[in-house]
Symmetry: C3
Subunit: 138 residues, 3 copies
């Protein structure tokens, strides 16, 4: 069995947006007891991740480290037409995930105690981001 | 068809733990000839990777580079309550994989000659890590 | 339903090779309307990514950043027998993807407007790289 649903998430600019509840709702309504849930973001300057969802400082620190690894406005960048955050956004996306697969057990994504599903907007400005959730199983 | 199995891996602190044989055993016993195997770790401070399993120096070098990208005890971290390795562990997890999908052919994960499946413990202390293996196919 | 196909891609040395059309052809011929497409590379020194496919400067800039994160010929590397690019190649592979899962809708990978599927060769010399495409669905 397969259930697929597309959703839109409106971001408020660079930063993380937890979407765990939305994903669990879709999986809960899919009528699939056991299988896999795949979450996919249809963009190259936003990405997905599983991260600790207890202490918000974790998300701040992720930004701190990411800003060093894939700096904004690096003088060596050639892809600069869309602003200093654009090339950094592509690199951040390549280093994280465009898709996440999570086991489904008992009609729920079987996440660990501290695992939250996040959409990570990498552009300075907010965007409408399309995400597709596919649930496969029995 | 779907077969799901959860296993526990006890780590000995930071470092890699090869789990290729365990994964192949589960896939071999699943009774699924062809399809996909998905391996998922239910934690945010340990992760999964596929890496060369011939020369152990590769794993040492991975630690060397990772320690520069996501340093322990960075003075800018705010998430520090659980020790200098905790925030670094979350970042390491975000930069690698929480889940791996591998094609199944002839009742085996069709890994390349040098590909091993590794659990990467990112905390200094050993932990019991839960991993779920899902095999989908026919 | 499941359709699996293995392909070989001959690379010309370090750099990206777009394989979007090849993947779409396989998915188009699989006779599966909706589901998931999983692309897997059977190597530890080449990887896969989804990236913007409009401006080739993005791909140049990815190389620039990657060369800093996972430098060639680092004096601390111990895995050096196969040349200065070998250990860097393993690290680049670990930081990007060995496998990509993409939703299939209407017999096509449902990629975003700017998303291209790339094989990223990390060794200096060209190689023949094996990739398996699995299409699961109904």
């Amino acid at each position: 069995m397969l259930v697929q649903k597309s959703i839109k998430v409106v971001t408020r600019g660079r930063g993380t947006h937890e979407i765990t509840d939305t994903i669990q709702e879709i999986v809960g309504g899919a009528g699939i007891a056991n299988g896999l849930c795949q979450v996919f973001v249809h963009h190259t300057s936003a990405s997905l991740m599983l991260c600790e969802n207890a202490d918000p400082a974790v998300l701040t620190d992720l930004e701190t480290i990411m800003a060093r690894i894939a700096p904004d406005g690096d003088p060596e960048y050639r892809h600069t037409a869309e602003g200093p955050d654009d090339m950094a956004a592509h690199m951040r996306s390549v280093l994280t995930q465009t898709g996440l697969s999570i086991p489904v057990t008992g009609q729920r994504c079987d996440l660990g105690t501290w695992q939250g599903v996040y959409l990570w907007e990498h552009r300075y400005e907010g965007h409408q981001r399309r995400i597709t959730v596919s649930v496969l199983g029995e």
